[in-house]
Every structure is written in structure tokens, then in C-alpha cells.
Amino acid sequence: MNWVIAIIKVVFIWTWCLLWATVMTWAERRGSAMIQDRLGPNRAGPFGLFQPIADGIKLFTKEEFRPKTARKILFNLGPILFAIPAFSAYAVIPFGDKIVIGGKEILLQVADVNIGFLYVLAIGALAVYGIVVGGWGSNNKYSILGGLRSTAQLISYEVPWGLALLAAVFVYGTFDLRQIALEQTGTFLGFLPNWGVFKQPLGFLIFTVAAYAEANRVPFDLPEAESEIVAGYHTEYGGMRLGLYLFGEYVNLYTLSALCVTLYFGAWNLPYIDMSKFLGPISYGIASFVVFWLKVMVFLLSFIWVRWTVPRFRYDQVMRLGWKTLIPLALFNLLITALFIQLTV
């Protein structure tokens, strides 16, 4: 029985991520249009909601073009290497508390592993291979430049990212993401919700900045800076191979937002209200799922908002920000957290 539930959960969260990645492409276009005094795609379906479907069909039916000079294996491998980590990273992140059906308690999480944290870090670090391999395999100067930029950027920002997360681990004392979520109930200092963001404000800031860099979003979209290096690592890609890169990016965004919500914004917990007290076992499960999802959506929308507001960094500025600002800050944050815990516990 357990494996049936596990398969249902895997399929569900996979389709769920894919669905919202798809909706995100629509939200990005409509959202940017709203910011820029335009209308955006509004022809296909209500509010243009079917636009992503049309885009998907277009990408699927397009010719899978591969330049003659490209390295065949690497060129094919790139998008796959990029998409697989994006989809698999979500496995350990909860998407709700638990649901009780027929006396059986089902955790709303694919795999509840006690090192979930390290798993996310490890899988997230793999995504860079997809970009590098794709950029290298294309055998195009712009692609290689994009791949180079992304290697430097992703590796540089993994460090402050990991350090910020480490400080959060200090606070919660566990690597288990479900345990971290459960810790964030009740209040902190008597009046604030007991959320990570209030215990780790600096850590949250570093995490957010690094997350933008990890996701290749403006202002850190150098690997695909359109006006400079055409389309960066995916210059030579078209059809569904390009689709995998684009989808992978949005799935990455969903995962990063979910991680941020789990660590810093109380996962499925509402401030001051304990939903499990007055909701039935099934409705509580659904409610926790919806609350979690809504919080993720806020972060996803903030990604769109920032993208259409600020210009792009230059390569050396990205490196300077990463190594000279974020890493010292993250180390400082780690030191303060450690000192605080040492003195109080």
C-alpha cells in the first residue's frame, strides 16, 4: 500500500510543479505586460490562460535543430541534465503538513529524509552542469561565454547560499525539512510569528539574493543576457530542448520559493492560528497544502516583479557582490548565530 501512496505523491507533485511552471510562463508575460502598460497575450482562452499550452505545442512540434558543428552527445545531454535536478530537488521539500484518510496518516511530502537539506543543496548544485554542458556542446562562442558566466556565477553564489542555510540549521538544530517546518509554530518573543525570517533576517536576505543568482533571474541573468551574448548557453537550442531549459528554470523557481517558505516563512503554518485545532483531519491537510502554495505564489510573483524592474549586473560586479559582500555577510551571520546559540542554550 505504501508504495502506491508514494507513487501517487510523486506523480502529483511532479504534475503540480509542471503545472505551476507552465502557469508561471503565462504569469510572467501577463505580469510584465501589467508592469509595462501593455496587455500581453490575451487571445488564447480566458485571459490568455491557454497561451502556455499553445507555446508547449509549438515547442513540441518544432524541428529539433542541431548545428553541424555541435558535439552531438553533449548537445543532447545539456537540457536533460538541467531539467532532471530541477524536478528531483522538490522530492524532499514538504508541500503541506499531513492528511489522515481512513485512519492512515499520509505526510504531504514525497520523501521525509533526515538530511533533506543536504539533498536540496547537492541536487541544486547539479543544475550548473546542464548549463555548462549545453553551452560547451553547442560549440558557439556566445554559448560558451554563457556557460562560463553561469559556472562562475552559480559556484560563487552556492557558497553564501549554503552558509545562509547553515545558519538556519544552527537555529533549528536539524537537517530535516519537515522538522524545520514543525518548529515554526507558535510565537517568537511573544508577539512575532515563530518564523525563520524573524530569527534569521540577515540569513533570509542573503538566501534571497543568492536564490535570484541561482535561478539565473534578473539582475543575475548574465548567462542568458540577451543584449550581450544573444541567448547565452541556449543560443543554439530550439524546439523541446529549449523548452526543457525554459521549463527547468521555472521549476527551479518553484523549488527555490518552496524552500524559502519552508525555512523562513513558517511552511504551512499561519501566524497566530493553529489550523489543526479546529479543522478535521482531511480539511486540515488540504488547508495546509493551500496555505503553503499561496506563500510560494507570493515568492514566485516577487521573482516576476523584480525581473521587470531592475537592470542587469555586469560580470565582474556579480563576482564582487558574491565574494566580497555576500560571503563575508553570511560568515558574519553564521558567527552571530553560533554565538547567540552558545550563550543562550
Binding site: K141, R149, E228, F313, R314, Q317
Partner: protein
Amino acid sequence: MEVRRPTIEDWDNPGDLVTINIGPSHPAMHGTLRVIAQTDGETIVSAEPEIGYLHRGVEKLGEHLTYHQFIPITDRLNYCSAIANNVSYEMAVEKLMGIKVPEKAQVIRMIMMELARIADHIVCIGILGVDLGAFTPFFYLFIQREEIYEIFEWYNGARLTNTFGRIGGVEADLPEDFEERWRKLLPNLKKAIDETDKLLTHNRIWMDRTIGVTAFSPEDALSWGFTGPCLRACGVKRDLRKDEPYCFYDQVDFEIPVGKHGDVFDRYIVRMIEMEESIKIIDQAIKIYKEFPPDAPLMAKVPKIIKPPVGEVYSAIEAPNGELGFWIKSDGSDKPYRIKIRPPCYMVYQAFPELVQGEMIADLIACLSSLNIIAGELDR
């Protein structure tokens, strides 16, 4: 701070450098420019621009067309501000023939030229934003540019290639509701400029990307023949509207903004302020315009077939990009013997290799956009 810029001699083996062919098919090259860049990683060691992708033989065409037939060709020089090109050419022919243009026509020319200047600067600043990754100001500004084009369309039916004016005056009076339309446009235009200013000018990322990037000294700028906003950004107060006034520029009150360092930021800010000064000029010009009776002449007495006396003439105006001059040699026939155009872009673009050397690829794109290189007048 003096930054040492690497040159190609620094490499024992120049083969280690990567040659990147930026353009002509590249998002930031507008389809018509090409730069062959030698790069060391992201740093540009040498950049060699190649021009001529939009060469249409405009000057040669002029030798086979009558004086009036050449006006639509001038539209295609700097197509972002066609009116300035038209007026510059017409003024050159008028100077050659010694025609005195009626004052009302001069005011109309002035108003339209300043509108064209705003439209041109909008294109430059919008594209600069897009090339630096800031998409949104582009749309805020372009909506207002569209409104300016509506005014052009209301005037003579054309939007981009206006073919404005005739030799000896202008073809038509301003539409009756011109001032009304301008008043309606003005608050939105000011708001768009203001919003762009808020989004970009004091944005930390924008400042990091533009301040000190491709800075140029006034001496270098002068020796390369810079004119217009690029020269003023270097700190040289040179503007033909003030120095050699034409139309009614000596009767209106406006400031000439100058920068200090000649970097991308200064070029951007000079253009931003110039847009506001242009608004001031238009407001004053409309006041002057209203003093003329509705039936005041718009055309000087010009023969049906234009046959200037034998001789040559050079006449220049301050186009949005800088000094736009026409040199015309006449042999007394109804077609010019030779037309030579002095486009501002051509002089500015010559300094491009020196400007971008030692900067990064992203700066090359920013520099190109901030210089506002328009291939139409660069290649002619």
C-alpha cells in the same frame, strides 16, 4: 583613478585571444552594425567596427534627383528624427539660394524639430535601458513617443519618414488643435520621463553599470570630432542652437546640459535633461507662434524649378545626435552637382575602438547604445 587598459601587444601570442563577431545579426546591433572584437575572457582587447551594412548611396542618389526630390531621401538618414534631417537640408539649399524663410515657418520648424529631438532621445534612452537589462522604462517612454508620432501624423500624414517642410518654408500650418494636443501629451510625457528617472538614475545597479564606463576626455572628444550629446557629456558646452542660432533659438530661453566625465551615465543624463529643455523650448515657441496671424505666409517666393546659382554651401544644425551638416555644390542646373552629408554618428563611431578598449563585453553594448549610433546616417 587611472585604469591600465590592456592592448593587443600585451599578449605574446595574440592567437590566445578569442575573436567574437558581434553582429550584424545580434540583438544589440540593430541589424546593421558589426564589431569584430578580440577578447580575453570578458575583457575586450581590441574592437574593430565594420560599417556599410546600410549603405544605400544616399549622396550619389542626390546627384540624380532634383533639389525637392532629395528631401524624402534625407528622411532615411537618422530615421529616429527625420524632421531634423529635412530641415537641415532645406536650410542648406535656402542658404545657397539666399532665400529668406517666413518667420512663421521658422517657428513651425523649430517646434517640430524639438518634438523630433524628444522622440530621438526617447529611442536612445529606451534602447540603452533594454541593452542594460532594464526593459520597463523602454515601454513607458515609447508610449509617449507614439503620442509624438500621432502629432506628426496629424500634421502631414507621415509618422516615421516625415518629409517635413519644403525649400523656402513649410507646406502647411500647424493643425488648429496642435496646442491642445501638446497640452494633453505634456503631463504624460513629463510623467514618463520622471518614471524613467526614478527607475534608473539613482538605481544602484544602473549607476554601477554606467558611471565611469567608457569615459572620454574633452580633448579626445574634440579631436575625434564629437558633437551633440556625446560631446556635451564630456564637458564641452557646444550647441549650435546657442553658438550659431538659427530659427528662433536665440529668442527662447533654455539651458545646455553638460556632463563631466563623458561616460555612459553622463550621456544618459545629458539626454534626459535635453528632453526637459526641449519641452521648455516648445512651450516658448508655441507662444511665439501664436503671435502670428493665421494667414501669415508659410512659403517664401521660390521658383517652381529650383536652380541655385553656381557655388557651394555648408550649413549645419544641431540635430538630436549632434552637428548634422549638408555641403552642396551647385553647377547651376536643377540637380545638385554633389551633396556631402556630415552625420554626427560617423565622427562619434570612429572613436569606438578607443572607447571600449579594455572594457567588458557588456560595456561595449552599453557604450554603443549610449552613443546612439544610427546606421542610417552612419552608412548613408
